[in-house]
């Protein structure tokens, strides 16, 4: 099968953010990660061309997907493979739209990105298989893609076992029992001790094992943290008001109190009037200082960490938690108090 590979400006080797505005272009044969994908596909399938586009152009220009698909068709594609885009938002959205437009143009199409990439929702009716979180998992992600491509080429259906993500296609079929009967059957099974039976599996968020308690707060180094979007006024680190892609750290060592007008919450999920009127409503520094003064807290960690918990993916949130724990551990912090909005 003749495959055209779609990648962004970075994976095409053009450059980073400074090249994000470039329009769609085409190169013969495989480029960048496409070379590895091409070798994984063996002799049966071949990447005949690579089409690429800057992330800004691809994700923000209405006509981008159509322009990209025109280049893909020009290159003689029977199938389009877009990505892997990992958790990159604009790249994922571009891959999703390109796959959808290619599918609608009568080509076979597959996008590759992390299950929580917002681009997954853009890809339907084309299919998406899951990549890892970051380019560190490129090898494994390309392997998943190569196996999915071989299956599609053979006319087989992809399933969750192949890494298929996104909304499951709904296939109508007749079952013996009606919904009311099945619901009562499931309720009876639950009452009978069956905790597994379901028609709609819920996402699994895993288990967080509680840390050991500290012996004595009056001898401990304690950190205060928040996901309430509290930043110095003007938001110098440009923390997002929703779907945060990062966390930031700001000094507390020489800060006695969080003065009104020196700090603001940029959280986009609630009215920040109360927080801006008194930033201690988000980060309780004033009373933490009192408790240090009185000896109830040993010492207060000299920075606070902040992100915005508003539409942030579980995967990103879990990553920030891991990074925060590692940083605090390294600094000898024994307990952390995180305010959640």
């Amino acid at each position: 099968m003749k495959i055209v590979h779609y990648v962004n400006q970075f994976f095409a080797g053009l450059g980073g953010e400074e090249q994000a505005g470039v329009g769609p272009q085409s190169r013969p044969a495989a480029v960048g990660p496409g070379r590895k994908l091409d070798s994984l596909l063996g002799d049966d399938h071949q990447i005949v061309a690579t089409v690429f586009c800057g992330d800004d152009y691809a994700a923000s220009k209405d006509t981008a997907a159509a322009e990209i698909v025109a280049l893909i068709k020009e290159a003689g594609a029977e199938m389009v493979v877009a990505g892997p885009a990992f958790t990159s938002g604009r790249y994922g959205i571009a891959c999703g739209r390109v796959a959808a437009a290619a599918h609608n143009a009568g080509l076979s199409a597959l996008a590759i990105m992390h299950a929580e990439n917002p681009g997954v929702a853009e890809a339907a009716p084309a299919q998406v298989v899951a990549s890892g979180l970051t380019a560190r998992e490129m090898g494994k992600s390309l392997q998943t893609a190569a196996e999915a491509i071989a299956k599609i080429a053979a006319g087989e259906k992809l399933t969750a076992a192949d890494g298929l993500v996104g909304s499951a296609p709904r296939i109508n079929r007749l079952v013996e029992k009606d919904a009311a009967t099945r619901a009562v059957d499931l309720a009876l099974a639950r009452l009978g001790g069956d905790r597994q039976a379901t028609e709609i599996p819920m996402p699994d968020f895993g288990i967080v094992h509680p840390a050991q308690p500290i012996d004595d707060p009056s001898e401990a180094l304690i950190a205060i943290l928040t996901e309430g979007g509290l930043v110095p006024t003007g938001n110098p680190g440009r923390l997002e008001s929703a779907r945060a892609t990062k966390w930031l750290r700001y000094p507390l060592a020489d800060v006695q109190e969080l003065a009104k007008y020196d700090y603001q919450s940029i959280h986009g999920g609630f009215s920040t009037a109360a927080a801006n009127d008194d930033p201690h409503r988000i980060l309780p520094l004033d009373v933490a200082r009192e408790l240090v003064e009185e000896g109830a807290i040993g010492r207060l960690y000299g920075e606070y960490f902040v992100t915005t918990g508003n539409g942030t993916t579980v995967a990103d949130g879990a990553r920030y938690g891991v990074e925060w724990a590692a940083e605090l551990h390294k600094a000898g912090v024994q307990a952390a108090i995180l305010t959640a909005t």
Partner: protein, 56 residues
């Protein structure tokens, strides 16, 4: 979402405050929340556990 130690507070926009209180009352409430949190991190738990602050 499985946070092991949780102190419930009074509203999403002000997890460490309560703007309906007078300033000195609000600070006392914030202090009570932090004291409750200190109790929580000093207590062994085996699953997500709620530590309710004594109301003032």
């Amino acid at each position: 979402m499985g946070a092991p130690r949780v102190v419930p507070t009074r509203g999403i926009p002000y997890p460490a405050g309560d703007p309906t209180l007078r300033p000195e009352e609000e600070k006392a409430w914030r202090r009570l929340l932090l004291e409750t949190a200190l109790k929580a991190v000093s207590t062994t738990v085996h699953k997500p556990t709620v530590f309710t602050p004594a109301t003032i």
